[in-house]
């Protein structure tokens, strides 16, 4: 099948722009990146079919019709992207309600572990200090009157 250059350009640009936004920390930008990636994927699927007449029996001769299968797949993808958008939006809004902005923060627990690794500590270290008093408690039971 002959490849159409402008379609390749469209796919490339949409993916490039989508990824650039996806790697941001602002959730709104991440969301826009996801939308662009979805659009890019749809164009990619679309380009696998030759353009032609709409695949409606009776309205076009079977030979002139474009392949209907990629269309069905894209239709599903479009609606799923709508769902994704709604969900990410809700996330962004909630983040803004809770912390006043919609930036994805680094995980605190992961940061803590990284700091441990830099200090060459084991994860038990903190625990041992906190429980030092415990160890002194005798296992032996107290005398009963």
């Amino acid at each position: 099948m002959k490849v159409s250059l402008i379609m390749l350009v469209a796919v490339g640009v949409l993916f490039a722009a989508g990824v650039t936004l996806l790697l941001e920390r602002t959730l709104t930008r991440v969301l826009l990146g996801v939308i662009l990636l979805g659009n890019g994927a749809n164009v990619l699927i679309l380009s696998t079919a030759m353009p032609g007449d709409p695949p409606i029996v009776g309205a076009a001769a079977p030979g002139e019709m474009t392949d209907p299968l990629p269309q069905a797949m894209i239709l599903t993808a479009i609606v799923i992207t709508l769902g994704m958008t709604a969900f990410l939006l809700a996330l962004a809004y909630r983040s803004w309600r809770l912390v006043g902005h919609d930036e994805v923060q680094d995980d605190i627990e992961d940061r803590r572990i990284m700091a441990m690794a830099e200090r060459d500590e084991g994860s038990d270290a903190a625990d041992a200090d906190a429980d030092a008093d415990d160890a002194d408690r005798d296992v032996t039971r107290a005398v009963h009157p």
Binding site: V19, L82, L89, D106, D134, T140
Partner: protein, 956 residues
Amino acid sequence: MLIVLLAHLAVAVAAPPLVRWLGPRAFYLLAGAPLAAAAWAAAHTNEVLGTGAVEWTHPWVRPIGMSLALRVDTLSWLMVLLVGGIGALVLVYCAQYFDADEPDLGRFAGVFVAFAGTMLGLVVSDDLLLLYVFWELTTVCSYLLIGHSVTNRPSRRAALQALVVTTAGGLAMLVGIVMLGEHAGSYRWSEVADSLPGGWYLATAIVLILLGALSKSAVFPFSFWLPAAMAAPTPVSAYLHAAAMVKAGVFLVAQLAPAVTVAGGPAATTWRVVVLGAGVATMLYGGWVALRQYDLKLLLAYGTVSQLGLLIAVLGAGGRDVAVAGAAMLLAHALFKAALFLVVGIVDRATGTRDLRRLSGLGRRAPALAVAAGLAAASMAGIPPMIGFVGKEAIFVALFDAGVTGRVVLAGVVAGTVLTVAYTLRFMWGAFASKAAVPGADPGVGAATKVDRRVVSALLAAPMLIALTGVAAGIAAPLVDRLLSPYADRFAATGPVYHLGLWHGPGVALGLSLLVLVLGALLFRAGVPTGRRPARVGDVPASSGYDRLMAVVDRTAVEVTGATQRGSLPFYLGVILLVLIAAAGTVLAVGRPFGEPVQLWEAPLHALPVAVLVVAAVVATAARRRLTAVILVGVTGYAIAGLFLLYGAPDLALTQFLVETVTMVMLVLVLRRLPTHFSERPEVRTRWLRVAVGTAVGTVMAAMAYVAVGARTAIPVSVDFPELAVSFGGGRNIVNVILVDIRAWDTMGEVSVLVAVATGVASLIFRRARRLHRRGPGSLPPKPPDGEPVWLMAGHTVAAGRRSTMLEVITRLLFHAIVLLSVYLLFTGHNTPGGGFTGGLVAALALVLRYLAGGRHELSTAAPVDAGAVLGAGLFVAVGTGVGAMVLGGQVLQSAILDFHLPLLGHTHVVTSTLFDIGVYLIVVGLVLDVLRSLGAEVDRHQDADRKAEQTEEMA
């Protein structure tokens, strides 16, 4: 037998409420479960002896060949008696041992009964996989029991240590079991034993299984966990050391020995080396360390380690006489060790200490206790007429007759027994003797220790009974011999066989027994250097090897986690994308599959939407205002809709257009609350990195698109779709027929995702569960004031400044027409562009219009239903269509074409898949309604609330 097992489960579940209700007295009731097991064994004695085994099988997990196969042969019968009998007595003991205010007693009681039940299951399992399941269950139960004092760090540590060691061994064992089972084609040990593989395959499997058995039985080098496990309450220790847990390993070795030792080849040799070497080494190590202990309980714990080594060596040695001796020793050990631990518990409770440096004169103050302890200790030391003496004699004789290897092992065992006698004496002396001045004792504690006699008399029954059983078993040695010899007869015997008995006349065994007693006494008199550091009683013995290993694991985990789990979303995404670039890029660069001809465009007109979307996408990445970015991304969507149209996809174009519109509305609804500009951070460096990664991904994807499109040489599967769509799908719009018929499962999955998403959105925005009812219509708007022209039901609720009469009029005029259009699209979608998705989106847009014009009250009037109900109804209709087809005899989601004549309407052509499309329609409407209620109405409410709060603040 299964009923007995299930009874344990039921009793374990019932234990916590029972204990809450009755207090510690509930233990008397709970003892019924293990007692039933012992009674079962007693009742089936003749059957087991007569037929060799009682079996019961029920298929369970067929794909892996696992069955509920229970089999009670002589060895299992002995174990059931011990597990049940000692379990019941320990529970009775618990009833007096614990105070009513003991924390978590209910949980403890439940776990204890479960522990007894799993141990019971373990010894009656014939299926090796089932055995493994029970094996791990005992591990889990013992973890909970050892760690009973959750606030106590040594206790938690000991529990974790036992868990880690025995689970690691158990995993090795599982591999060995699978190796044997896969070779034999069955996991029933009674069948596997007859078709063992040979050579190194068997040897490997055996070593793996032994790893499990030895770690469970605390044999060297895994010994360290058992002494540490005495952090558990004393009744647990008694049960754990005597009948349960550690005996599992011994039991497994005893069960395997008859088959493995005769297998020959490297397997039998490996088995002997491991079992005898580790066994004797453990016996000597445990005995030596026991001699140096000051804590009575710890002394006994190391004694157990020593005895387990002996049991493993003897039961694993292989040979008829050794086997009967080992079985007798197994019985003897269970009896005396249970009794002794219970005695230590009494000493501890009655005096408040287990430190033999602080105990003095206890023998005079509590003579009955001393008698019980003395009987059990005599059995441990091997003094007639105890069962311990019978067992030890038998071991001496059997090993003496077992060739050179036997004599070498015998030497080790004799040495170990000398140590046993010595530490037995140390125990009795330490617990009961009157000590005027013990070296290293506190000078202040001279005379007799204070004893609480009530505790002694309340608790004495169980240990006394167990100790007396030991005496009775010794006296009735011929009977024990008759009961246990069927197990030993699994080994082929040549010549006269040995019989257990108290008196065999003067001989090697008797000589050795006397020698051992004398040497043991001398060793005790001489004393043993007690190590550098006088251990405090209650200290958990250290296990430096284990600690170092765990520290290394911990450090490695921290380093690996710290290096890979950065906690940063862009980092994770970046790694994934870089892998994509590297993997796909390498294939493209190396394979260079670029040979297909390229044309600039299919038609010049295509360049228009492409140019628009390229510009919009590139500018969107640089936009600083949220709204600008949103609009630009929306532009790319509309451009793509145009491209769809040019490519001959009117369905897609319509859907994309509608979705893009709904998306824009949603974005704007949220953006009104967020800051206008993106928060900028000084990230120039990372910005270029992002652009670089993005460009690389874009290039790779474009190249992949080129290769993929160029590779389309085969005839597409869809070439028959036009004909199929009409004949089977009953529709002329092929895309729609694909969605609701040919690939209906896809659509089913998709709508399920939509329902989940809608629910997720609502639960993110409505912060409290009880507010979720606001997904419903909420309160009705107040009546519109008279005298004004009413365009919308709730138009007057919008603040005057934001009200647009123009919009209200348009909405009023268009709303019903749009809804009608949506229904039209839904029903004609099968033949012309349209369908459930498009129809639903159009209907949703009508609702959006109402909301924008009249606010949240208008939305309630327009759709006085709960969004969740709409979603549920849609899913119900969609699933119902699928199920309905199945019920009517077709495949799931198969569609049928109905043609009939109706008065007035004339000829009617109905395809059942339209019903499915109606489900889709409802779900799409429900999704958008949910989004409007959440991101629209509820966000409005948040805004109003915030504004009100600000005003109050200003006033104050």
